[in-house]
Subunit: 143 residues, 2 copies
DNA sequence: GATATAAAAGTATTTAAATACTTTTATTAC
DNA sequence: GTAATAAAAGTATTTAAATACTTTTATATC
């Protein structure tokens, strides 16, 4: 459902959030290493997140990417929309282009329940929620 | 989550099931047209479904693809496993290769609930269940 | 058994996502 | 203001899925 880049984005933002406490910025290479992803993919993806105001960046020496306290309260959905677009939770389970309640595919209602459940979960989970288990060593961003 | 080919496969099998009543076989072109998919993709995909005993085929004049009454009682999951493999409902929501209860990603538990719910739905739905609304003109395989 | 039909099988191309590379721009420190 | 640093931006390549094309095999009909 989510693209690989989107999953990478979520991990990168959580990583930035773990750095927030110390006020440190993180560079592309550092982030890519920590979440075990391609530097190039991470670089491009971070650019998008900056444009969409999910995170911030500074160029130059001591520059890098960082996140504010306000941004830490953003939901997972915000990241997903920034990377994979806003249509992602509308799509038909069988790929019909115009699937709807009045022109449903055979699994329309059942799939909608699952898809909406996933969307709700992503809407409720804030970056700050996901950060805690990582900080406590109870959850991981790689491996 | 499911590949495009897998969604095509599900629609193709439902279409074959609608033909079962009359005992007719359906050719690649007919199926592809009815579910609005590429003939080539459909051809290859049907070969896989035959190998995996999800459907049957006969070569030669009056040949084509067909499904038996027993096969009509197969679950969606059977089709999904045949096309996308059996690992598909094990995968981590953030793409970690070794995500587990003892080495979880930050959304492990929440994602597992969604993923297991989807799997259960696919396990419970039989081809025969999905066929009915299509036969009754209440659900569609294209559009 | 020759012919026609339709799937099976094998190979090639296209497409979109992911990854890689290069150049430009902004910022800091000296 | 020069040099160094790091992101931004633009372009190119790789990869895997999807799609397309070609040849072979099995079956039915005459």
């Amino acid at each position: 459902m989510l693209s690989l880049t989107c999953k990478t984005a979520i991990k990168a933002v959580i990583y930035l959030a773990t750095k927030m406490e110390t006020g440190e910025k993180a560079g592309i290479r550092e982030i890519a290493t920590f979440i075990n992803a391609s530097e190039h993919t991470v670089g491009k993806m971070l650019q998008t997140l900056v444009k969409e105001d999910v995170i911030n960046s500074m160029k130059g020496p001591n520059g890098g990417f960082f996140i504010t306290g306000k941004q830490k309260n953003q939901s997972l959905l915000k990241i997903i929309h920034a990377i994979d677009g806003t249509e992602i939770f509308q799509q038909c389970g069988l790929g019909l282009s115009k699937c709807s309640a009045t022109h449903p595919c055979p699994i329309h209602d059942d799939y909608k329940i699952i898809r909406d459940g996933f969307k709700n979960m992503c809407q409720q989970k804030k970056i700050s929620d996901l950060l805690e288990p990582v900080n406590d060593g109870l959850a991981y961003l790689m491996g």
